[in-house]
Symmetry: C2
């Protein structure tokens, strides 16, 4: 059906070995024959069968992707767009391994191995309920996004969560806010922990005290943002500003503020984290800490490629800068 290396060899009047050598950049082949072979390759639109290639132990040029949070993650598209750039230039294809629901004994690692996957990107923010031991022990180069796994051949990449949050707090302090609260994500998630660190650092830098009651826990979603904000509002000395762990929880917080008969930013200033598209469309538009997911996507493939190519390379811990995007949800302190 599709042309194979033998067809090309026959057409060019050489052996398959020669064609193979030309294709793999061996220098031990005559310039003229090389020229002729390449011409036939182009003419016949020949592309080596990747299954055969990976079978003989050569590279499969395949990177697997695993989503701990399902496809529904708001950043997925941006990350993928960033990945695409690097995939193109490095020549990888990206495979999404749909785990077979009917198989109780399903092993993601075995699935990767049977597919000859060269590396894996894991993406999501759930730490607790996933067991990555098998993956880490498998020695398959792995890059986690937003999960601080750093062991064996597994590294990670994430935004500078701490600095980003600290900058948000400083910005509010600069607007004379002195009662700044923090709406966290799941306490044990890597990103939430570091954002909370940044919150404390920001308070300290501004000479503000850390108050336990000003920290409310959510889980990144709009719903828990609403509930958590409600608790903050019930405080006798209620905060004049709130830094949220995600844009969606900020949206929930704004709704709670609105429902309490207060307004943003006159009564309370709100800052989100992420800069998802929705942030621009809520009213007032949300001031937020932008994560550069395009860069994170691109770098994740580049770092993974390094890991694949160099077996001895220590796994990376990459941090990508954030940017404060000022819109309309913050104003000077009032009260």
């Amino acid at each position: 059906m599709a042309t194979n290396i033998r067809d090309v060899a026959k057409a060019a009047g050489v052996s398959v070995a020669t064609v193979s050598k030309v294709l793999n950049g061996y220098t031990t082949v005559n310039e003229n024959t090389k020229e002729r072979v390449l011409q036939f390759v182009k003419e016949m639109q020949f592309r080596p069968n990747s299954a055969a290639r990976s079978l003989v132990g050569r590279r499969s040029m395949t990177i697997g992707i695993f989503l701990t949070t399902g496809l529904a993650h708001p950043f997925f598209t941006q990350i993928l767009a960033g990945m695409e750039q690097a995939l193109k230039s490095k020549g990888y294809d990206l495979i999404y391994l749909a785990q077979l629901s009917w198989n109780r004994e399903y092993s993601f690692v075995r699935h990767c191995q049977s597919r000859n996957v060269e590396g894996v990107v894991v993406f999501g923010f759930q730490h607790e309920d996933m067991n990555f031991d098998e993956l880490v022990e498998s020695d398959i180069p792995t890059l986690f996004i937003d999960l601080d796994v750093h062991e064996g051949r597994a590294g990670y990449i994430s935004s500078d969560n701490q600095a980003g949050t600290q900058q948000a707090v400083s910005y509010l302090a600069g607007l004379n806010h002195r009662r700044i609260s923090f709406l966290s994500g799941n306490k044990d998630s890597y990103v939430s922990r570091h954002r909370q660190k940044g919150y404390r650092a920001g308070l300290t830098a501004a000479g503000l005290p850390y108050r336990e009651e000003y920290v409310a826990e959510g889980d990144f979603t709009r719903e828990t943002g609403y509930v958590a904000m409600g608790k903050l509002l019930a405080l006798t000395e209620r905060p004049t500003a709130v830094v949220c762990c995600s844009d969606m929880s900020a949206v929930g917080a704004m709704e709670a503020i609105h429902d309490a008969g207060l307004s943003v930013p006159e009564d309370i200033s709100v800052i989100g984290f992420d800069d998802i598209e929705i942030a621009r469309y809520v009213s007032p538009a949300l001031t937020t800490v932008r994560q550069d997911m395009i860069t994170i996507g691109r770098r994740s493939i580049e770092l993974l490629d390094d890991l694949i190519l160099d077996k001895k390379l220590p796994p990376p811990e990459a941090i990508v800068p954030t940017e404060l995007i000022v819109r309309g949800s913050c104003g000077p302190a009032n009260g």
Copy 2:
């Protein structure tokens, strides 16, 4: 490294052929040996190498995905989530073929063939600048989403664009609107054409005349929605309602209305199409025609699977129902 069929055969004390037969559901194998083989398969966590499998002409269980609009498409995530359900139950993996930018002679079809891809899903709304001839002629089972290609082994799936738009017009007519305008997408796109058809059908059903000047062209984006709405507002007898070809263009239209000193829905009612997440967050929240992208994603894989399994099957033309989601952007006609 990873266990192969020979290891399993040795462990179970049988030949590789027997193991293979067990794995492939041959009935010509003794119940006891089968039992024992399966036990070792499970114990050793054996999974046949898919490269070797597809090399011997068996199935690769791989479906390719091709995006004409890049990853940035707003529905991408939902479609993928729908696909995932079917991929799981059918046992396919999904591969994203990153086209190699440095290769001028790049052929998507050859890439698919070299990867032994069994079928392809094409997704996007650009018709004109893409050349699908090679793909259609390649005889690779293909399923287009939102593109009415129907030829050879290529079929398509899409929302019921016509009925959805017609329902939107009827809804407005029911609110006593008599000057209902239409903000189209790219005129030559499949979905826009059918939505415009539905617009006319809706007018006819309501006994309203079709007026050329009430149709403004955009390209689904917010920017062109803003511009097109501006033109409609400049009309001497300006419309009291507008049906838009997408939610993003509806957002643009609402901004134009606002900037003209008018308000939604008091002065002008607005209906979108898609029901993307943003529709819930603009103010007023957008009444819109929801597309069931989850179902479209799931069905696209199911239909593709049918096409792959049955070489004689005529390619499908599948239409998925829409649903009118009533929110706050429409009110009774006023004037």
